[in-house]
């Protein structure tokens, strides 16, 4: 089976997010004074062939731990969507 995986990598709670903080300080300059908790991360999309959704999720999780995210400073979440057979 073929799946699309979407991995969202964000800073761990308590880790400084200077990009988010800087954007948060910039938004009021445009009049948006009611915005807080701005966080900037990254999204990784990939296609994976696996026996089933659980296997795909497990492998993507392993890839996150080993490469896609740095567990010292980053958290990640995984979304798996089954792709129609081609």
């Amino acid at each position: 089976m073929r799946f699309e995986a979407r991995v969202d990598v964000t800073h761990l709670p308590g880790i400084a997010d200077p990009q988010g903080a800087t954007v948060e300080r910039a938004l009021p300059a445009l009049g948006y004074t009611n915005v807080s908790e701005v966080h900037i991360g990254k999204t990784i999309r990939l296609v994976i062939d696996a026996a089933d959704e659980a296997a795909a999720r497990a492998q993507v999780g392993e890839m996150c731990e080993r490469l896609l995210a740095n567990p010292v400073i980053e958290a990640y979440s995984i979304e798996i969507t089954e792709l129609a057979p081609t």
Partner: protein, 227 residues
């Protein structure tokens, strides 16, 4: 006896010749080792120099750790051999799990390129064995991701085990506990954000880096004599 220092070169590394020049000025012999190499050619010490290894894609240092040469670097480190990572090399060593923690973007999101004062905090490392603790050195920094971070347990450990090698006198990048450089448990692996090789001659505005480079060469000589 001349110490032999391997200088690791990834695609995107750009400080290798400066490191080589500064070490040779002090009487060391150096060899550039490409990232595809599987051996360090019997070198006594290793420097992972600054630059943008593998374009810093994904995260700084993240892809460099998968280069074949890093297996040889890890083996050298495990055997007690001196390993020093400078700037991007420090980032590579943290990603390779040879040093704890990580380096995140500077507070204020500024790329910093200036000379700063750093205080040597311990002599118990291959980079500072010849320097009295408390010595303040003027060293250039040149980085966007130099803001050192680790969890509290690791920080307590670094402090208790005397592994904080260098601290900024006036913290330029938000680094936790003013940390500019750390060592592993044995003191043979050191990572630092400042560039000692760029402070290796009075013509460059500072020769304060010489004492660090000399300590590394001394450690390399000691290792070659022990072999």
């Amino acid at each position: 006896m001349s110490a032999r220092v391997a200088i690791v070169v990834f695609p995107g590394t750009n400080c290798e010749l400066d490191v080589a020049h500064s070490l040779e000025q002090l009487g060391g012999s150096t060899e550039l080792v490409f990232h595809t190499a599987t051996s360090l050619g019997g070198a006594d010490a290793v420097v992972v120099p600054g630059g943008f290894a593998h374009g810093d894609y994904l995260r700084t240092g993240a892809l460099a750790r998968f280069s074949p040469v890093m297996t040889a670097v890890a083996e050298h480190a495990a055997a007690g051999g001196p390993v020093v990572g400078i700037c991007n090399g420090f980032q590579v060593l943290t990603e390779a799990d040879l040093l704890p923690g990580a380096l995140q973007k500077n507070v204020g999101l500024k790329f910093l390129c200036k000379t700063v004062e750093c205080r040597v905090e311990t002599s118990a490392s291959v980079l500072t064995s010849g320097v009295a603790p408390g010595t303040v050195l003027r060293l250039p920094i040149n980085h966007f991701e130099g803001n050192y971070i680790c969890d509290q347990v690791t920080l307590d450990q670094l402090r208790a085990e005397d592994r904080i090698v260098l601290r900024y006198v006036d913290n330029p990048n938000g680094a936790l506990d003013d940390i500019a450089g750390i060592a592993n448990e044995r003191g043979n692996v050191v990572g630092l954000m400042p560039h000692p090789e760029r402070a290796s001659d009075a013509l460059l505005g500072s020769s304060d880096g010489v004492v660090l480079l000399q300590s590394l060469l001394d450690a390399a000589v000691a290792r070659s004599e022990a072999a």
